[in-house]
């Protein structure tokens, strides 16, 4: 394995990584800077209803006269926050469980495996429906927590497989013989050797969290306050954007999500090519 900086160099040279990072960066900048240019509060009724994009309202207005642009950029922020938090929690949980199962093996592995399978099979939407029916006030934190707590099995499986193959290596035996505790071995010996893998896992979790959050918001089970891209689409459908042909309200939110998640997936593929070069690529 080459040095870190060498890997970075190769990573940047890969077209897929470059394209993915650029698109992602574009949206991140939009999410950070965009709201500064929003002249109105996203949910305030400020303009003429159902107006197409104009110089005053860059992305037009909703059925109630809300500024779509303002909603869009604030929604972007919310989307990124959920992606980071939800993806982060999912990755953390998945990594811990995957490391534990892979390193310990045996009965621990069996039990964790069964647990992982259960959470995997359970259609998370169904569970959230029940929870959301009773939680009257939901925030972004709760949503992220929920997403993280239900999306981790994918990460756990991948990390477990990696841990299995790393566990057999000599440096682990050495650490074990020198008396290091299991947790220290897992986090200081094994994990650093799959940093690239961890990073790619996080990217996938991030993308997944963004998608799940959008779906939840669209169904009406997202945060009860604020705005998000999924919620925009929910409102659009509920308030007749389709029959009224209000494409400026319907199209941008979903397009943004598709672009962000697509960029993440493509980046992931590119990183895989860089970190795990298959000779045939030459």
């Amino acid at each position: 394995m080459g040095s870190r900086s060498e890997l970075m160099y190769f990573a940047w040279r890969n077209t897929k990584v470059r394209v993915g990072v650029l698109i992602l960066a574009l949206f991140v900048i939009l999410a950070i800077v965009g709201p500064l240019f929003a002249r109105h509060d996203p949910n305030a009724y400020v303009g003429p209803p159902a107006h197409p994009p104009s110089r005053e309202y860059w992305l037009g207005t909703t059925t109630f006269g809300q500024d779509v642009y303002s909603q869009f950029v604030h929604g972007l922020r919310a989307t990124f926050i959920v992606g980071l938090l939800g993806g982060g929690i999912g990755t953390l949980l998945g990594v811990c469980i995957g490391l534990l199962a892979g390193y310990r093996g045996g009965m621990v592995d069996e039990i964790l495996n069964m647990f992982t399978n259960i959470v995997l099979i359970l259609p998370t939407l169904a569970v959230l429906i029940i929870i959301a029916a009773y939680l009257t006030v939901r925030g972004i934190l709760v949503e992220s927590l929920f997403i993280g707590c239900t999306a981790w099995p994918w990460a756990a499986r991948a990390i477990r497989a990696q841990t299995f193959s790393l566990r057999a290596r000599e440096f682990v035996d050495l650490a074990r013989m020198s008396g290091r505790s299991s947790w220290k071995i897992m986090f200081y010996e094994i994990a650093p050797n799959m940093l690239s893998y961890l990073f790619m896992t996080f990217i996938l979790q991030f993308g997944g969290a963004v998608l799940i959050a959008a779906t939840l918001d669209f169904i009406g089970l997202g945060p009860t306050q604020g705005i998000s891209l999924g919620l925009m689409m929910n409102n659009a459908v509920l308030w007749a954007a389709l029959p009224l042909g209000m494409w400026w309200w319907l199209i941008p939110p979903g397009a943004a999500i598709t672009a962000i998640v697509g960029a993440l997936y493509v980046m992931n593929v590119g990183l895989d090519e860089v970190f795990n070069p298959k000779l045939r690529e030459l």
Partner: protein, 316 residues
């Protein structure tokens, strides 16, 4: 001559440039000859063996000519080589234990393979059964899936498949490396038996285990860092090796009955040069006790005695 190789140069294409895996190999293997191809890990013996039958990227053909039974083998042309593969030249790969499709029974697998070569499975079945019997496998094996057999059994199946069409040249790539000593013996005996019964005409037996070659090989070709060092009949290699590398190799072999206290294990200090940008001349130069200025120039592989080839300035 069954096999004649002239000035073969095979490099590996990598992100950082060419790795000079095989550098100017010229040798021949006679009818009925079992030639051992020996050397340490990374010396290029597997590359050499594979290039003769399946030259796939990242292996790159640079130059050289290969003749089998007088016909030239277009080793650089993957499609045209199909005519020769399996029928005239065959291989028992290093990964023989995993070489069978896990979801297909062995009989149908062989039938599929033969069908693509225009051979009717039923016609060859009696011969197939005879050969399975020869390697001590029940014909029942044809109805089994690969995972129902042990690793050793799978390897024997592969050995039978690879030699089924009586190829002129068989390449056996490290087929004994993962086995215990008694199984090694059985496998080696099979190889010799295949030659004796005419299933296979010539064999190139790739291994790093010199003691096995002593048992079954007629001649031995020693490689070092991509270059040919010495080729000679097996007795000559062991009794009177002429290349400094071969000499040190033979000397480092432990003798049965030798105890550590009386006779210490001798190794060869140092390690092979990197092949990405190899030093000019003889690549054993840096570790050779006999090196001198002439060694900056690559020594030719010449016949110093009948059937005995060496690439060393000190010996010419």
């Amino acid at each position: 001559m069954a096999l004649r190789v002239e000035n073969l140069r095979i490099y590996y294409r990598t992100l950082r440039g060419y790795v000079h895996a095989v550098e100017g190999a010229t040798f021949s293997v006679g009818d009925g000859e079992i030639m051992g191809l020996a050397g340490e890990s990374g010396c290029g013996k597997t590359t050499l063996g594979h290039s003769l039958i399946y030259l796939k990227p990242p292996m790159a053909y640079i130059e050289g000519r290969v003749f089998l039974d007088g016909r030239e083998l277009p080793i650089w042309d993957m499609d045209r080589m199909n005519e020769f593969r399996f029928r005239h030249i065959s291989i028992i790969p290093q990964y023989a234990m995993n070489a069978l499709n896990p979801t297909r029974r062995i009989g149908p697998l062989i039938a599929d393979l033969l069908a693509t070569r225009g051979i009717d499975f039923r016609q060859i079945l009696p011969e197939l059964q005879r050969r399975l019997d020869l390697v001590q496998l029940s014909p029942e094996v044809l109805n089994r899936y690969p995972f129902e057999l042990s690793g050793g059994m799978r390897q024997r199946v592969v050995m039978v498949i690879s030699t089924l069409l009586n190829p002129s040249l068989l390449i056996a790539d490290e087929i004994t490396s993962a086995l215990d000593v008694s199984t090694q013996r059985a496998v080696c005996e099979m190889i010799v038996e295949f030659r004796n019964r005419g299933f296979v005409r010539s064999t190139i037996f790739i291994t790093h285990d010199m003691s096995i070659l002593y048992q079954i090989a007629d001649t031995i070709l020693v490689m070092y860092a991509g270059q040919l060092a010495e080729k000679a009949p097996v007795e000559a290699i062991f009794r009177s090796p002429r290349h400094p590398y071969t000499r040190m190799l033979i000397a480092s072999l432990p003798r049965v009955g030798a105890r550590q206290r009386v006779e210490r294990l001798k190794g060869i200090p140092g390690s092979p040069p990197p092949l990405l940008d190899p030093p000019p001349g003889c690549r054993f130069r840096d570790r050779c006790p006999l090196a001198f200025e002439r060694c900056q120039e690559p020594p030719p592989f010449v016949e110093v005695e009948p059937g005995h080839f060496v690439a060393c300035w000190r010996e010419i």
